[in-house]
Amino acid sequence: MNLKEYLAQKGYKDNPRRLMEDLIHLVFLILGLAAVGSVLVITIYLVISGLPAIFKIGPVKFLFGTRWASTAAEPEFGILPFILTSIYGTAGAIIIGVPIGFFAAVYLAKMAPKKVKEVMELCIGVLAGIPSVVYGLVGMTILVPGIRIVFGVPDGATLFAAIIVLAVMILPSVINVSLTALEAVPREYEEASLALGATSIETYFRVTVPAAKSGIFTAVVLGIGRAIGEAMAIMMVAGNVANMPSLFKSVRFLTTAVASEMSYSSGLQREALFSIALVLFLFIMIINAILNMLKTTGGEKK
């Protein structure tokens, strides 16, 4: 079929609007594919550039080695300290950030007077818009010396400082997503509960929150995603030494391990950094998958 017949068959000649319509569809399809394409390119690139070093070093030695000395005379590439730090750091941020964010969202959705709600929502919006380097800067100049003085440790640049910064950073996404979920619960549910004699607090926690469960799970996913992927802010407050994690020790996360050494790296060191990025990537995939599963099973029970 040549072009002319094709055009005739589609009836574009008689109907130029249809041509426009189809063209626009095509444009949107291409734009949509741009996202899919990026994911594919990144995944393929990471696997290709990350796998060789893992096998050169040895998967067990790489993943479970406890010492990272990439530029030593006899280099060692064990990333267990980074993996554990990322897990501890993210878990710490979730433990501190999610309850605060969740209760703030319940308060905003159900109890706050209109004026208070407006002001608080504005503040949360600003908090969400602050670039991570600013979080890092404030952490570095206020939090780090603060921790040193309050806890009496020699240096405040520790895992604890990173957890605090991450907890604050995930607040806006946790609050906003939970808030949307809580507000989407139909009023009738609450009215029914109140009519049966439940107090308002009972209603919020027994009716509204369970009904908004899947949205709140999404908020936690977003929080974890942001915490585990953050590099800039924690690079400035965590000290970046490849120690096994401990609350008041200088630590290095998976993200900061890649970011801090990338600029001057070469050879196997650089390849190993790509491997760390691959591990981080897999981590995020696994966490997303687990939480998605939780979300769907949670939804079915209802």
Binding site: P16, M20, A69, S70, T71, A72, A73, M140, T141, V144, P145, R148, P154, D155, G156, A157, M235, M236, G239, N240, V241, S250, R252, A259, S260, E261, S263, Y264, S265, S266, G267, Q269
Partner: protein, 270 residues
């Protein structure tokens, strides 16, 4: 419809404008390869040189001193860059070293620290954990907090090789820029750090090393110990290409001195 056509036309025109710029002029390439510490120096020199000589292209491959020396030896680049003096064995293999600049590394402590002079042994003790409190060497009662740069950084490499603390430093923080090191040191009363002499050291206290304060003069005279040479490594028996020789001559000429100084190193040919 017309609007879309116009947009497409404009886009097409813009594309031609972008691609039409490619020039087909003959140009010579000078390749350099090696030390990451020399990045600023070599890039500043290359930039100025390429502005003055339009048909020469100077490339730089930041691989590290060792790789750069090997590359020069194997003829894979014109000029190997090394931020340490060449070893006897490397000279015996057929390389010649030319020192183009010197780099001084300042040792910095918190302004509240009463210590004002350290020996190289004390510095390595402070960094390796042999000295845990400043009071052990006559300073205030504060735990020592050694702050350094990330692995792969030229300053770290230089500092550790001069103080003999390779792979032995027990850092409390490994930061990715000189500025971050200075900020961290200025905030912690027990901190010690190192930074290139060329950086802005107003917020911290620069200590003298074995009685010598770091400055351009003391680095040049060799009195200040924590310094290293920036070296061009070239093959002894094979002459450089015409373009490479011209660039080499430019770099060692007094003309290049202000550019080297601008890039934070101490020029040797003035």
């Amino acid at each position: 419809m017309k609007k879309i056509l116009t947009i497409m036309l404009v886009a097409a025109l813009a594309m031609t404008a972008v691609f039409a710029n490619g020039s087909s002029e003959e140009s010579a390439t000078v390749s350099t390869d090696g030390s990451t510490s020399m990045e600023q120096v070599i890039l500043s020199l290359a930039e100025q040189y390429m502005t003055d000589n339009e048909n020469v292209n100077v490339t730089y491959n930041p691989t590290g001193s060792g790789t750069g020396i090997t590359a020069a030896l194997e003829g894979r680049c014109d000029i190997g860059l090394s931020s340490r003096a060449l070893k006897e064995s490397e000279i015996a293999d057929g390389l010649t070293q030319t020192i183009v600049a010197l780099d001084g590394i300042a040792i910095i402590v918190n302004p509240d620290n009463t210590i004002s002079d350290l020996s190289i042994d004390q510095i390595s003790g402070l960094y390796t954990g042999a000295i845990k409190n400043w009071s052990e060497i006559g300073g205030p009662d504060a735990p020592v907090v050694p702050i350094g740069r990330e692995a792969g950084s030229g300053t770290r490499d230089g500092f550790e090789s001069i103080t003999g603390t390779e792979d032995a430093c027990l850092y409390s923080q490994e930061l990715t820029s000189t500025g971050a090191v200075i900020t961290a040191v200025s905030q912690n009363p027990g901190a010690i750090g190192y930074a290139s002499l060329a950086s802005n050291l107003d917020d911290v206290k620069v200590v003298t090393v074995e009685g010598v304060a770091p400055s351009e003069e003391t680095v040049k005279s060799g009195e200040y110990k924590i310094q290293r040479p920036f070296v061009f490594a070239t093959l002894t028996n094979t002459p450089l290409s015409e373009a490479a020789q011209a660039f080499f001559d430019y770099c060692v000429s007094p003309e290049a001195a202000p550019i080297i100084a601008g890039a934070g190193a101490v020029p040797v040919n003035e």
